[in-house]
């Protein structure tokens, strides 16, 4: 079986501003995971990184019509596939 050539899976915190990807999994402990899902970070959703804050601060991402702020350490729990 030939895998989708060029598709790469990475944690969300690795995406650069302006890059988009599709969420493939949401890991993390129950509470963080549940909150991320409630905020729209669900499997199959398209997510775009808008910008990153200074001092290793949070990232701003767009999912659907919602803009979210999350810390990079939390964003590491979201696995995305770039195509």
């Amino acid at each position: 079986m030939i895998l989708n050539i060029g598709a790469m899976t990475a944690p969300l915190n690795r995406l650069l501003p302006g890059q988009s990807a599709t969420i493939s999994a949401v890991d993390g402990n129950g509470q963080i995971r549940q909150r991320m899902i409630a905020l729209g970070l669900r499997h199959g959703k398209r997510v775009t990184v808008i910008r990153r804050a200074l001092m290793n601060g949070p990232i701003q991402v767009r999912v659907g019509t919602t803009d979210l702020i999350l810390r990079r350490s939390d964003a590491a729990n979201v696995r995305v596939v770039t195509t």
Binding site: Q34, R35, R51, I69, R71
Partner: protein, 617 residues
């Protein structure tokens, strides 16, 4: 019929509960629905403030309850637990689920969870104007058919769609015999025993929702950038963002501070006029002690509370503007990288800045942070902000004690100390108040707040605070009056009074700080409010305020004066701040801990400073 909530049994009145995610304008809906009748309800086991109001709906009194915002009915946050507990334990006739019409793709799941509880439910899609602006079209009929509950579009800010929503609530409040027999997802008929199994239902599968949204909601494939995106490119700019944040905050702060102090001056003028024209003549013939008790104890306490009001209101309004425009989330974004290291988040920093105006509204505004641990840690830190009242004391003392050249540097060093002490406190206590909730916030589009709403909300909050705190503040003022005026046959605040004896007993504690017993009595006055410290010094040194500077310079050396200022900066700010800490934490234990910590820290800082000046000359 005029409803009076006091005369009715809790369950005799029908109850409507508003639920929804944060940032959906739920409170605006509540305020519009209930007007100014809202009060903080008192329910057993409910740990956060839940507002409620009884209003006439469909010809009968109905209690409307504004439950805390929740993302998920089965969520773990305190707010989510409170909302769930309320619905489980209290009788609710109608649930009104409020969602953001522009974000149905992620919010509709909550409506399903709520509907499955089997309580008659109305879905309200708020911010319909914003959704329309984004080109989002919602087929409410299709949505209602898919969910089996009525759906209404609403714009709570402008009031569009309000009457239709109220009509739907009224309809749902009428008895529905057909619904009683309806089958619910667990397969049972609805009844008291069903509550548990329905409440235990897992989150609905995403697919079912997605297909419903695809059918009923049309979202354009690319959203217009709009002015939010354009503004953010400047305000959240990599290098410009932080400087703009500081400039903006200090400019806003300056304006608010000026307005606040103007209003405060005006109020004290009115109070003084009343005191001179009415109060003093009225108690003219009274014995000296009673005269002093009424004038300096009771009336003094009342004026402290009243003159405080305008500052609290304007600062609360300013914070509300920062929050309602959507900038608070941006400030959090900008500052979080630094604050996260201290166990706080970006919003705490905004509250700490607010504290430089007045600690009380800053502490009250920690409510926007919904995690209790984070709130407590922020409340621990805010009182170290050098507020405007303390600034008055420092301005006077630095001018009296230091050269014109040194005075600004001394003042600057105190501001620096304020930050150092705050950061140290956050760092030391972050282990105890560890925030279990991840920082995940929605960054809402910029919105223009409505001034009327802002003012009403600020006045309402200030009123709630004063109602809860004025008794405590009065008691404190009267206690200090007793200490400084008993026994009656000696001069007030002199060494022969109770306060004087206390100062003598405490002398070994304060002597290593360079603070003599006379000055330590001033610290007792400073507990009431820092504004009265200068006046107290004038009384204690038996000079008028005009000669006070000279008297201080003659009695104190620079090291002792600076040590006194350090202590004043760090120790318990004032009775109102203590009251705010108590009210917002709902815990005397925490309040006493915060007070004890600031006292201990004040002592340590002053001790370290004074002793090192003695060592190094």
């Amino acid at each position: 019929m005029q409803p009076t909530s006091a005369s009715l049994q809790p369950d005799a009145v029908k109850r409507v509960a508003l639920v929804g995610m944060p940032n959906t304008g739920k409170s605006t809906v509540f305020n519009r629905l209930t007007g100014a009748a809202a009060r903080i309800g008192n329910w057993p086991g409910i740990t956060v403030d839940v507002m409620s109001a009884t209003i006439p709906l469909g010809g009968e009194p109905v209690e409307v309850v504004d439950l805390p915002g929740l993302y998920d009915f089965h969520g773990f946050s305190e707010d989510e637990r409170v909302a769930r507990r309320f619905i489980e334990d209290q009788h609710v006739d109608v649930l009104v689920v409020i969602l953001n019409a522009a974000q149905l793709d992620r919010q509709l799941g909550l409506a399903l969870q709520m509907r499955d509880l089997g309580i008659p439910t109305l879905l309200v899609l708020n911010m319909a104007d914003e959704a329309r602006g984004l080109g989002i079209h919602i087929d409410t009929a299709k949505l209602a058919a898919g969910l089996h509950i009525p759906v209404r579009l609403l714009s709570a800010k402008y009031g569009d769609g309000f009457e239709e929503a109220i009509e739907s609530i009224t309809t749902l409040l009428r008895p529905h015999p057909a619904d009683e027999a309806a089958q619910f997802p667990c397969g049972h008929q609805w009844g008291p025993s069903c509550k548990d199994c329905c409440l235990a239902q897992p989150v609905r599968a995403g697919e079912q929702l997605d297909s419903l949204i695809a059918a009923a909601v049309h979202t354009p494939s690319s959203l217009p950038e709009g002015w939010t995106g354009r503004l953010d490119r400047v305000l959240l700019h990599q290098t410009l963002g932080l400087p703009l944040f500081f400039v903006g905050m200090f400019a806003g702060f300056e304006v608010v501070y000026r307005i606040g102090t103007r209003l405060q001056d005006l109020l004290s003028w009115v109070l003084n006029a009343f005191q001179a024209a009415v109060l003093i003549p009225a108690i003219a013939g009274w014995p000296r002690l009673a005269h002093s008790f009424v004038l300096e104890g009771v009336w003094g306490g009342m004026s402290t509370i009243v003159t405080f009001l305008p500052v609290v209101v304007v600062f609360l309004m300013f914070i509300a503007i920062v929050e309602d425009t959507g900038y608070l989330a941006r400030a959090a974004f900008l500052m979080d990288g630094f604050m996260a290291r201290l166990g706080l988040d970006g919003r705490s920093f905004v509250m700490q800045l607010m504290g430089f105006g007045c600690n009380v509204p800053a502490i009250m505004s920690t409510r926007v942070m919904r995690s209790r641990a984070l709130r407590l840690l922020t409340m621990m830190v805010v009182p170290f902000s050098l507020c405007s009242a303390r600034l008055q004391v420092f301005l006077f003392l630095t001018a009296a004690m230091f050269s014109r050249r040194a005075a600004p540097l001394v003042l600057f060093s105190l501001y620096l100390m304020s930050f150092v002490v705050a950061i140290t406190t956050a760092w030391l206590w972050s282990g105890r108040y560890r925030d279990p909730e991840p920082l995940m916030l929605e960054m809402p589009p910029y919105r223009l707040p409505t001034p009327k709403q802002l003012l009403l909300q600020a006045v309402e909050e200030a009123r709630h605070f004063l109602k809860a705190a004025s008794g405590f503040i009065m008691a404190g003022v009267i206690a200090v009056w007793f200490l400084t005026h008993i026994p009656a046959d000696v001069p007030a605040a002199s060494p022969a009074t109770l306060a004087g004896h206390l100062a003598t007993v405490m002398a070994p504690v304060f002597r290593p700080l360079g603070i003599d017993p006379l000055l330590s009595v001033t610290l007792l006055f400073g507990l009431i409010a820092k504004e009265i410290v200068i006046g107290a010094l004038a009384v204690i040194y038996r000079t008028g305020t005009t000669n006070l500077a000279g008297a201080l310079a003659a009695n104190l050396n620079c090291a002792a004066a600076y040590s006194f200022m350090l202590f004043t900066l760090v120790y318990t700010p004032c009775l109102s701040t203590i009251a705010a800490l108590r009210q917002e934490s709902r815990s005397w234990r925490f309040t006493l801990l915060a007070m004890g910590w600031s006292l201990a820290l004040a002592w340590a800082v002053s001790f370290a400073f004074y002793q090192s000046t003695r060592l190094f000359g």
